[in-house]
Symmetry: C2
Subunit: 200 residues, 2 copies
Amino acid sequence: MNNLTSRQKEIFEFIKSKISKEGYPPTRMEISNYFGFKSPNAAEDHLKALKKKGFIEILSGTSRGISLNENLLDHIPVIGLVSAGSPMLAEENIEKKIPALPISTHGVDYYLRVKGDSMIDVGIFENDLIAVNKDIKIKKNSIVIARLDNDVTVKTLKELSDNKVVLRAENKNYEDIVIDPNKVSLNFEGTCVGLIRNIS
Amino acid sequence: MNNLTSRQKEIFEFIKSKISKEGYPPTRMEISNYFGFKSPNAAEDHLKALKKKGFIEILSGTSRGISLNENLLDHIPVIGLVSAGSPMLAEENIEKKIPALPISTHGVDYYLRVKGDSMIDVGIFENDLIAVNKDIKIKKNSIVIARLDNDVTVKTLKELSDNKVVLRAENKNYEDIVIDPNKVSLNFEGTCVGLIRNIS
DNA sequence: ATTCATACTGTAATTATATACAGTATTAAA
DNA sequence: TTTAATACTGTATATAATTACAGTATGAAT
């Protein structure tokens, strides 16, 4: 969604929402009415721009003949290995994108591929994808995604106060991580709200 | 899909496939062409019948203004508790339907809600949904969905021969289930190819 | 300095589409 | 046995929709 102008983004979003709400794409007129255009040609121009940029296909002579070029639909990034220092959603960390799945009662901002065995006692295994929500308030006893000195880790949050944070690996072989947040750089990236595993 | 005639079923299926392939519903003409009708009114009549029976909505004056009332487009059933004796996919066992998710490299025929703790050592917990493929050949060491005397169970298949089958619960507290398939009714419903967990 | 992309207004024509009306034939229900 | 539902053909028309052409204005790129 990068080379789109903000107006084009709006048009594209409108088309998507029309499809998901009504079940079919809008006409030029419907687009124009929604945005207050006085000419259907304004919509036509936008559609051509979206087509040129590869976001939609237009079937000529076909009413509502707009099809979205999938793969940009409602796709949510899967984060693989996180490069030190880079923001979670940085391009370099995105392994692929998969559709928004109704796996969780909460929204999912991204999926994170699990490394290591530190959470096996709660059934989170290496290579599982955990669904992460960025906005839920970080709470005691939730499984959180934390960034400790640029190292991204998944742990259960057992204590959270101004001068003491305890992260627990759910694996008997690991010890609790006790942190003084004033001394160490600690950020919470999100809360784990779901899990996906591929068994091959 | 019960009170529909077979012809109406065909029309309905055609509309569904058009929507999923093209991204928008067909026109009366497109329906007529596909089925070889010589008049668009044949399609119109069918649409009215489908509307009357509650399968679609028709928006008057709107091109391609057909919306499906079923939202089981590419939806895959989630199987909850399985009633004794009933086939897996029997209506009574279907908890809900969710979209086809690209969680697995294999196809998914249905999701099965896990009961009990017999597989916790491989990270399968109570209430998880396991993705089941019915067609993959049952193999040793896969996690299988077996029906033992009408009881549906998820276990690892450790041995499979003509006169001995061993099903292992992946939980130290349970013993292997050793079966003589000639003496006991045993069917394999499928192989576990993935897992979904909602963490709330 | 000029071309190009963006973001529109305004008009208009062709064609795509919905949909009514008038029929015919078959089958199932009252 | 009459009615209603199903499954169409055939014709017709109003209107929905695409889409081209001719403009205007702005800002960014070459």
